[in-house]
Symmetry: C2
Subunit: 315 residues, 2 copies
């Protein structure tokens, strides 16, 4: 039996397993039997959208005790707060299934890939719509990005990163009122039906042969990693291959990992670190080679990639 | 000693006690001594913005063991995941301080009230800018709200609720492509420097004496509650007073609580339920009397109010 909870915030596992996004609700699922426990306030929404049985709780813990009291209950200990887990632990026997839940979501179904593909397409269109002549500062450009997203009726997958010149040397920089200089790094993605996309582009304004060549080599690194995926099995294999490809181009060693899984969360499994045994077949990956000259400038190039186990395709 | 963690998402207690919002960082604080443990990637950001000592971790748990190993450590078990609490519990002795942390944040400092006041002012301006002639559907109006927020360089405190006619009878409704009818309920707030605001207005388009009178009486209920605050002590006193005021106007009993505290979170302490012993002096409250005729229509009127313990002021 699986127990998932969606409190104040969107919960990827709750949505994945229930198909709905209803606040302060519990999903109890066992085989094909699915029960949604929700509040009086959300009852009509639940009844009209959830496929399964809907129960309205006054005391959710009492109800869970009745429904699951004697069974072992798998729960997501990465999402449940320590306090909620303690309260639930008093009415049923919880075991941590968070790693299994992450692995399950890592392998994407065709309809999930389709959502991510659409999210990527919309993000590309947002990038294409940027008008550097009308943007004086990083914040101006950020506003263009958010406006374009809003015009599409979509939401951001994460707050856009817009970093010019020296600011591009900080990988987690956001945006300020700094005037746009000769280099602008933009890292952004929109969501489509809760599924994320993640792309990074650098814009070299004016001629700069050195930077242009560096950016081209970074794109080559990204493409070579994508091409190599069918020969690789685990996250650590990707990390190792990428490390070599980056060294071959004489870029400095990466200070963040070469990428990550993308889905209902912007960062999810498989992990692509040097120690990751996560399998990459059937997953969607953000591949983002980068280099950073501290306090000078940095560049990053990122694609969202679908690897079905045989072929790897840039979405 | 207090230990707080900010992972992927904004954490109100981490921000409140550290003054910074840096991902994947721990705050260890004891009296005036404050240490921020952060990743290599966020080091420069931490050093330039955090007032206190910055340590870069490779293994955060090892470092916490060294710094806090023998002491009792207060932690926020409402925010820490069960999994993170388990890992931390292996390197130090955690005790749950989440209720104390919530109470502490409930009493607002002048600079916090000032931020909320600005957030409210901006939200009022967003409401004032709405152009019903240019909005055909709920989603059109939602877009106007989000555009106005973006133009101000601000972020939403929560997703706007735009509900017309029958949809206004569902308190947690969001927005759809339904055409705007004769009644439109809008519930919205922006954030100012991480502080939230929360207002609800109903717009009666065209003449409808009955609805106009109902809305007026709802505003009277709201004002009478605000006026009564200086005579009240606890959350349950507000609930009781509000219940009577609503009954006096012959509105049906509320299906949600009469309001909630507002601050770094849109819903925070004090709670205003029938059982709440939370003190209201020194807090900022959203007061939101409402009535709902199931499947017909509903109305809600909401103000954000600062009660310094003597006087209550609508912000």
């Amino acid at each position: 039996m699986l127990l998932l909870y969606r409190g104040e915030n969107f919960d990827p596992n709750f949505y994945y397993h229930s198909g709905v996004d209803i606040d302060h609700s519990f999903l109890l699922s066992s085989g094909k039997k699915r029960i949604l426990l929700t509040s009086k306030m959300n009852e009509s929404l639940a009844r009209s959208s959830f496929r399964g049985k809907v129960l309205v709780y006054t005391d959710a813990f009492e109800l869970i005790k009745k429904l699951a009291g004697r069974k072992k209950v798998s729960a997501d200990m990465l999402s449940l707060s320590a306090r909620m887990a303690k309260r639930l632990g008093k009415v049923c026997h919880l075991k941590d299934a968070s790693m299994e839940l992450l692995s399950e979501r890592a392998r994407k179904k065709p309809e999930e890939v389709s959502c991510i593909r659409k999210a990527v397409r919309h993000t590309r269109e947002v990038f294409d719509s940027l008008d550097f002549k009308k943007a004086k500062t990083e914040l101006d450009l950020k506003k263009q990005i958010l406006l374009a997203t809003l015009e599409k009726g979509l939401e951001q997958a994460f707050e856009p990163i817009v970093a010019t010149d020296r600011n591009s040397s900080f990988p987690h920089y956001r945006a300020s009122n700094k005037k746009l200089g000769s280099l602008v790094l933009v890292d952004y993605g929109v969501k489509y039906e809760h599924y994320c996309s993640d792309l990074t582009r650098c814009f070299i304004l004016g001629r700069d042969k050195r930077k242009e060549s560096e950016y081209e080599r970074l794109q080559d690194v990204c493409n070579s990693i994508v091409d190599a995926l069918p020969e690789l099995k685990k996250g650590k294999d990707v990390a190792k291959f990428a490390g070599k490809a980056i060294a071959r181009q004489k870029f400095s060693e990466m200070i963040h990992s070469i990428g990550h899984g993308v889905g209902l969360e912007i960062h999810e499994n498989p992990r692509l670190g040097a120690k990751s045994d996560d399998k990459i077949a059937g997953t969607v990956l953000a591949i983002e080679p980068a280099f950073y000259f501290p306090n000078k400038y940095g560049m990053r190039y990122e694609e969202t990639v679908w690897f079905d186990g045989k072929r790897a395709r840039i979405l």
